[in-house]
Each structure stands twice: as structure tokens, then as C-alpha cells.
Amino acid sequence: MRISLVWKQYDVLVVGSGGAGSNAAETASEMGASVLVVTKDPLSASDTKISEGIATVRASGSEDDTEDTLSENLLLAGGDLPDANITSAFARDSQMAYDKVRANGLRPKISAITKNPDPLPLPMGGHTKRRSIGHKNSGVAFGHANWNSIVKDTKIDYKEDCWLVDIITGNNKDDTKSIVGALIYDAQRGELLAVVCASIVVASGGLSTIYFPKTDTMRGNTGDSYAIAARAGAELVDMEQIQFLPFCLTSPPAFEGLLGGEPVTASYLGVLRDKNKKVILDGVYLRTRAECSAAIMKAVEDGRGTKNGGAYLDMTANKKAPKSGVYFMNFLKGSLPSAYNNVRQAMSKSEAQCEDLWEVRPSAHYMMGGIRVDENCRSIGGSEGLKNNGILGLFAAGQAMGGLFGANRLGSTSLTEGAVFGQRAGKNAAHHARNISGMNPLNKKLFMEKAKKVNSLIGQKGHLHASRIKLSVQKKCWENLGPIRDEVRLNKTKLFISKTRKKLKNVKISNSTKWNQGLIEYLELENMIDTAELMAIAALERNGSLGGHVRADCPNISLFSKPYSTIVRFVNNGVNVARLPRQQTEFKKLIKFKFEEQKKFLGAKILRLMPMILKDRVLEKRYKKIMNIQKPSITVQPGSVEAAFGDRKIL
């Protein structure tokens, strides 16, 4: 054995120190549990820290924003795939959870009138109420609060530069599994940690790095949450549902993949064009992200893509309008300051001024599926009415969990997701650990076996390098498992994965124990492969386009058809896939939702076809209205898609 094995014992192990992890750790510790937090990045460096920092807090904009309203918004946006118990829990806890983050130093602007935090002037896309609160310094402000919540408490132990390698489970008498502990590679000290614990909270984020550099997220999102939980026997839900942001930058390399704009910032007259400048999508500001991404990728597929495999976002008409053009530029700069900052640095002056077209391409942003849990973040499994075969003592929160968003995630909901479910997971993990003490000495063997496997990798001979194989996986995932899919490509992905798996034994890994980058790359590569396989199989099962999953070879799945989620899990030598029926929203509400959607597209079309003078006048009024809005609160009809600002006027 080359890396020494160090034993540790805690009640609760929390993996990750983003929003979900730090909230879980703080809450579990407050409940009296002994807690260890491990993170592969430095403390609190995470998607949470680099986010735009906009968070959903129910009833922050108007008192009539009930729990049902918020929960319903999530369900409708998610195509009825979300678990209604989970959306209800989100709606119930959002205020309380947000205040807990505030107690650690998050300071929103306080309204002089309501004496409460002030949400943005208009509801964000898909929200029917104003309830999205922005923060100075964006996600960095959340980063500080999360850092504080862990550092302030001497009862919480934490270790940076630690990679969770595998979760270790034992078998119960009734054939179910329980958490025994976890094996962790401590790169900083060059040790393997054998953490014996009754509860584990997986809060280790998403998988977008499998599409690098076509992503705007942190490097560490290599699917660790999903792969590690699945290897331990957990079920995953909705793994085909990944959110791509359509308008991201294509060059230069330092900016590739970063956010440039959103459908809403394309504003009233923005359109998408192919390389021949032909319009491929209009009414962009009303479209969903998935629609925009699909339009771009279709053009690329037909050979009409731009140099860097994207399309052109044309906002010149907005800019050219004599009166409203000025407002448009202010609107663009003000609505997504950090995205516009990327554009300003990466593009030419005329492009940044919207006098020229922007070359854009989708980027992976968020995994809407994840570890299957109930509203208390407990791992669950099996069909309705049958025995629950989830893993006892396994909890998931934040991007790692599934069931809150289904097919589509509304803006500003993830930071709140981290707080709400981080706290729930922490509480329930502490509670679970309370009733369990010590370790069965027989389990020691399980740790030793896993440790032996890792140790056999140290000094492995070979001619391949994991960092390079990673690049090939990223390329293939983009091509075949990306924003547009079909059966042939998905099967190609499966084949590619099984071929890549065979290469692992020829990966060269050095002898060093401290920060062995080759070993780190290897462990992450393995997680990327496992995750991609599970995704490909879920994506084959859903043979129709829905939300973040676009199938070029099948029709759209209608809002009115019976909704189901996909479930995947590893079984001996393969992957098991199943469908989990979901509750459908009342027909009445669905029809209203569809109707509102259609009405808006018609409105956008009428506007576009108006003569310039008229159009300019209408637009000037609209911009004035949305940009000067103070009080009272504005609401729009249920079912608005992407940020439905101002369209009250024309309808």
C-alpha cells in the first residue's frame, strides 16, 4: 500500500461547500451532530460563488404570492416532471432558508417602503410573481456567507483539496443498503481518508464539465455527485434533462463558453441567423432556452453554422430604432451586468455596441435531474407502492439532487434550492445519525478493499493520460449527448463510453501520493464516463423532445400527454432504466398556460411587422416602463415563458 489510510469518525459527512453543502453542515452541527465537510475546491469556491447571485424568495414582492402559486410555477415550467412534494417544500421554506443565509452576512438591499429585501422590478421568466432578489457582488456575496457559516463554527471540521472517491454501504437484513462511510483522497496531505459515518450529504454539484469548454460553470463539475451515488446503488431521476444556455461566447479561448446573453436580453427585435444571415428563429425574447439552443444546433448540423459551430444573434434592429435604441443598450447592460462584461471584453467594439452580429453557441449550465430523493433529501428508490430501496443514510441537496425542476429550471431558483434543501438535508442527516452508533467491525474490510483499489492505481503503467482522454470525452459528449440528440448519436455515445472504459487500465499515473494530478484526472474521468452513460440511457428512454432534452428524430412530447420521469440505476454489469409516472396538472390550467403562450407569440409577431416609426414609439414606452418601475409590484399572467417583460401592453 502506498497511500496511507487514515481513519476518521463523524456523525455526518458533507461533500461540497457551495450553497447546499455549507447550509447542510451548519444545520447538522446546530442539531448537535459532529460534522466533517470535504471539498475538492477551496472552501466555498463553487458554482454558488460564481453565480449571478439572484435568489427566489416567496412573497418578497407581493403578499398574494402563496406557496401554491410558487409550487405551481415550478411544476408547470418543469413539464409536470417535478415531484410535487419537493416543489411544495421549496415554496414552504424559501423565506426561512434565505434568512439563515442572511444571518451569515448576506445583505440584500432593503426597501424603504416594505422594510424587507427588494426583489427585481419584474418577475423573471416563468415566475408569475416578483420574487427574485438580486445582490451586490452577485454570487461572491453568497460565497462569503457560506464561508462564514463553516468557519465560524469550531464544531464543524473541514478539509479542502479532498476528493470523495466512493461511498461505502453495507447490506441490511431486508436487502436494502445503509451508509457505512466514505473513502476520500486528501490530495493536500497525500492520504486516503476512511470516514466512518452514519449519514452522508452529497452536495457536490453538477456535471457540465463533461461538455467543457462549452460550459459557464466551475471546472469541478465532473458528475461526481451522480456517478458516486449511482455506484453506491442509488437511483437517479431525469438525467436526460440538462439546461443549456443558448447565447454563450465562442472565442477567444479564455472566454469560450461564458455567458453573453439570455433570450430576454435579445429584446423585442432580436433574431437568430445562420452563417448566410438567414433568419432561423425570431421572437427570440419569448423563446425558451431549449428552443434557442435547438435552432442554433440545427443550423450547425445542416452545415449552416458559423465558424466556431454556432449561429449569429442579431440585435441590430433594437439598436437602430432611433428613439428606443438608447434604452435598449441600457436594458442590455443593466439586466445581466456580468454577461455584458464578458461581451465587452471578448468581442469587438461594434459587436459589443450591437451594431454587428454576435457569434453565439449554447453552453451547459445546470443538471436538472439528479439523485432521486424525497422532500427530506433522503435517497429513495423503487416504484410507487413497492418497497423503498433507497440507501439509508444517503442524502442529496442542491444541483446533486433531482426532482425539483424536471424538464426546465426557472431563473434564480438554484441558490434558494441550495439553502432550502441543504438545510433539510443537514437536519435529517443529523437526525438519522443520532439513532446509529459506531461501526460494525466487519465493515472495516469494505474500506480496505476500496482503498486497495485506489492504491493499485498509484504508479500504474501505461501510455495514456487521463487529462487527454477527458478532452476526447468532452468533445464526444458535446457532439452526441449535447443540446440536440437522436438515437444513432446516443448509441454512439454508449459505444464510445464502453471503449473509453477499456482504456482506463492503460492510463499512466505517477508514484506521488501528494496532489497526484494524474490520479485526480483519472478519478474525475471515471465519474464523467459513468455519468455520461447514465445520461445517454435516460436520453434514449425519453423518445421525444421535452424541456432541456431535444430529440431531432422524434416529435415533441405534448404538455397534455401523461407525464413521466426517467429513472436510471447501475445494476450488475449494466444500467437499469424505468419510467416513473408523475401527477398531471389539471387540464384547465394546462390549457390556460398554452393559450397565454400563443397569445404572446402573436403579440411579438404583430410588433415586429409594424412600421419602424410606430414600433419605435411602442418600444420606447415599454423600455421606459420596465426600466423605471418602482412600486407597486407588477405581475403578469401565469405561464409567461422566458422573462415576459412589458408584453401586457400590446396584448
Partner: protein, 244 residues
């Protein structure tokens, strides 16, 4: 143009100082530009080096957008945020000199946060949260924790920056730790005793060193002298006066 000139325009020569088992090893690396006018960032160079010549090169990065604060390295001896620092011909990329190196460009960071363990935001619940924070508070919380400010800080230099495992938390402070403490002083939600506590912590970390120091420099432009160090010195003097 001669062949050599064309080639020179396509490449950029840099030195990457790798590190393993306590020893530095400089490696010359030719960065291949994507086009003549490309001005690559240090992170672009490291990523290409890992893709080509040095597959196991160790370095930290996260967001590629100057938000996460983990990619700081020394370029020609000065701390720079790698994802947003342009590299020039013959530049030398090396691990930060102010913290112990683990492997290649990766330094150990957590002795800094541990020096504040249990010393911030205790008992902050229960206070009225609905009060506006000042612009200064928000300036301080724009800190991305890149540790560029450790460079040339006489207080931080009093620590023994070694690799010993027992050195879990540094005795003496640094501009970042002072910033975290001053954040509590600036926080409108903090009680007076919490504020006094924070000021006392600053003194315990060696605030007196700042008296003879020209001041610190922040990697992203926070006014550390004006908004952190000077106010802490003034406040600590006041507390001292009150005690005598």
C-alpha cells in the same frame, strides 16, 4: 517575412516552473497561438501545456472569469489571477511565493481560513436582518479570496511558511483576514460586542505591524488601506483608550 519570423508570431515562449517533492523544475513551453493576434491568458497557456507537453501539470482553476479566486499564480514574481492575466514572451509562471507549494503551481491555502475559525459571525442570529448595508460593506464583500494581497505583507511574513503538517493555521494575519474582520465591524447587523470582538481579533493577529507599513495591495482593486487597515487601527486605538 522569413520562415523564422512567421514561426515566432505563431508561438509564445514561456517558462512554467513545475514542482514536486520540494524541488522546482523550470520547463520551457512554446504556446501555439490560435491566430497571430491572440493574446492568451496565463490559464490558456497552462491548459494548452496540460493538453500537450505536460499532461499531469497541476494547477488550480475554476470559473475562468475572475470570480472564484482560486487560480492565482506568480507571473514574473508578482501574484496574478491566471484566468485574466495576459501572458507575454518569456514570462515565468510559478506557484504563489507567499504560501507553501504542494505540487507544480498548486499552493496550500487553508491555513489562512483556519486562523479565523470560531472568530467570526458567532451568535449572529436573532438580530434584525432588515437593515441596509453601506457601500463600504459591499466593497469589502467583493473580495474573491485570491490571496494576491499576501504579497509583501510584513505581517504575513512573520509566519513560518513551511510544509509541516502541524502548521494548520497561521499565527499572524494578512490583509484578507483583516478584511474579513472589518466586514463584521461594517455589518449593520453586528452588535457592538461582536464588533469589538472583531477588532480585538485583528489586534491579536498582529495589527500593530500595519503601523509601520506603507499598506497593502488588492488583486481586484479593493481599497485595503483606506477601508480595512486604517479603520481597524483607529478603532483599536479607541478601544485601548477606553480601557485605560
Amino acid at each position: 517575412m522569413t520562415k523564422k519570423e512567421t514561426r515566432d508570431r505563431q508561438y509564445l515562449n514561456v517558462t512554467i516552473v513545475t514542482h514536486s517533492e520540494g524541488k522546482d523544475m523550470p520547463v520551457n513551453f512554446k504556446y501555439k497561438k490560435r491566430h497571430d493576434r491572440e493574446k492568451p491568458m496565463a490559464l490558456d497557456v497552462l491548459l494548452q501545456a496540460q493538453e500537450t507537453k505536460l499532461p499531469d501539470l497541476a494547477f488550480r482553476y475554476g470559473c475562468r472569469a475572475r470570480n472564484c479566486g482560486v487560480c492565482t499564480i506568480d507571473i514574473n514574481g508578482l501574484p496574478r489571477i491566471a484566468c485574466r492575466s495576459v501572458v507575454r514572451e518569456n514570462d515565468k509562471l510559478k506557484a504563489m511565493s507567499t504560501l507553501p507549494v504542494i505540487t507544480d503551481l498548486v499552493v496550500r491555502r487553508d491555513q489562512i481560513s483556519r486562523q479565523l475559525r470560531g472568530k467570526i459571525y458567532r451568535n449572529s442570529g436573532g438580530n434584525d436582518l432588515n437593515v441596509d448595508a453601506s457601500e463600504d460593506y459591499h466593497e469589502l464583500t467583493s473580495c474573491i479570496e485570491c490571496y494576491a494581497c499576501l504579497h509583501n505583507c510584513p505581517m504575513h511574513q512573520k509566519n513560518s511558511i513551511d510544509q509541516s503538517e502541524s502548521n494548520e493555521s497561521y499565527e499572524y494575519g494578512n490583509p484578507f483576514s483583516l478584511l474579513k474582520l472589518q466586514t463584521i465591524v461594517m455589518d449593520p447587523v453586528s452588535s457592538n460586542s461582536q464588533k469589538n470582538d472583531a477588532i480585538t481579533q485583528a489586534v491579536n493577529l498582529g495589527l500593530d505591524t500595519c503601523l509601520n507599513c506603507p499598506g497593502c495591495k488588492c488583486g481586484i482593486g479593493i481599497d485595503l488601506k483606506g477601508k480595512v487597515v486604517d479603520p481597524l487601527i483607529t478603532a483599536s486605538k479607541k478601544i485601548a483608550d477606553e480601557q485605560f
